[in-house]
Amino acid sequence: MGILKIFPLILALLGCPLFVVIAALALVAYSGVDIDWSVIFIEMSRLAETPMLISLPLFIFAGVLLAESNVATRLVTLSRVLFGWLPGGLAVISLLICAVFTAFTGASGVTIFAVGGLLFPALLKDRYSERFSLGLLTSSGSLGLLFPPSLPLILYGVISGARIEHLFLAGILPGMVMLALLGGYCVRQGGGSVMRGRKRAEILPGGTESAGPLAALKAAAWELPLPPIILGGIYGGYFVASEAAAITALYVLVVEVFIYKDVPLPRVPAVMVRSMVLFGGILVILGISLAATNFLVDQEVPDRLFSWLQQYITSKYTFLLVLNIFLLLVGSMLDIFSALVLVVPIIIPIAQAYGIDLVHLGIIFLTNLQIGYCTPPVGLNLFLASYRFERPVTTLYRATLPFLGILLVCLAIISYVPLLSLFLVELWGGG
């Protein structure tokens, strides 16, 4: 039995699709206790009873379409024209843009490619050091995961059963704290002051023609209403989060294809297929792990883990510390979707036994996994940035260190101040 379980795990490290690895482990485990293999599909067909699941493919489609369009350029132009005069100007703007872009396009990596590529030359031109700029963009590549309507928030809701409306609210203040601390660091690093005395046209990305604030506002006029539509619709009670996904998908489709014409109509099917391939990759892992983790829960593995842990860890605070270290490790190895799907079902019973709120736990999870993205040696953002900016990974390790430090401070605050996550939920969450 041992070898049958170790072999798939080794293959996982050698690049075997994760769903195959999990399925192999589930098949072996089921045989071990004489459960019929078809139970895997009884579990998987329960996915068709999850009302929230539909928001995943629809938000993925909207995100892929947005990433395909020129929204990144419009966003950069607009925020430079509006906020370029602030101290720490462009660096702070980069943080905000990355956060908004990631919240809407969900899967990280897109941000580094689409937005990072525009901002990197601009930052250098504004005389920020190369090291600072690289670190900033690499660590911001996954910033914004805590803001609605980010996909990982939704996926956590689907897996844990926490209400997505609550999760959307819970992420806002912790995300703001993260932005504020990183922004403070950027202001201290300075650099933005060179902008005064130069013409605005010089600082715009891609050398676009000089655009006044009004022209930039007008250019992005169709994309700006998107956040208020989503949030206003959900919290105004017009539609639930899964329906917000449908509205967003339709809105983005109409705006990018028919109004801006950024994505020509004949390219839309390819974009659709690409987003469904992304969704399919997540869904098989989700479906198969549902079977695998239910097996573990049936075998009372979390309970046993809890009673074993309790011998060493009695306080909730120590548990949070251990949990954070564990999740940082997981986050640097796995991408955020598989990490959530595999780890959340096992950790939830344990965390609840230690008295941690389900929504707060979600925010802790996402913060850790976000940081894991830029943690050496194998954080995904580091490799993406190394590829995009053509610098050795080791350079990026050094460049991201100060940002990593700040993010870890944020993690500590988020973990040990539950109110930060729960305040808005209690205020506006309703019943």
Partner: protein, 170 residues
Amino acid sequence: MSWIGSIWRGIRTWAVRLEEFFLCLLLAVMILLSCTQIVMRVFFSSGLPWAEPLLRHMVLWAGLLGAAVATRQNKHIVIDIASHLLPGFLHPWLALIVNLFAATVTSLLAYAAVIFVVNEAAYSQGSAIPGIPFWTLGLIFPFCFTIMAYRFIVLAIATTRQALTGKEPA
């Protein structure tokens, strides 16, 4: 014999087109049907009773078909450590082992899915959507996992060729 090959390639091209067409159709219907539901509820306080369960099953269908396409494009989620750490000449051999293993596991899953559907057809009654028995919705499982198994075998053959000749597959 070349005409057999060209017919086979023709079938494959059309199968791929059909698959992608169906995927786009599913996504388009999901978007439009959801939006119709919202409009009907907000403005006319009504709705289509069958739309909700239909949408939930369509999500599953779209995801599994997407996974089948992901197999063809070799785009499943993996832990990508080996390709950074191991020397290049080992990669095709590793890919061969991985693809053979994946083909085996997905074949077993396809087999388990057939048993699942047979059981459902025999024992489960009723349906979530009028006119569509419950078990027919489950047909997507054996269908997609069979396709995935087939594609992992194709990938395994391609990687064998690559390992032996050292050339990138066409």
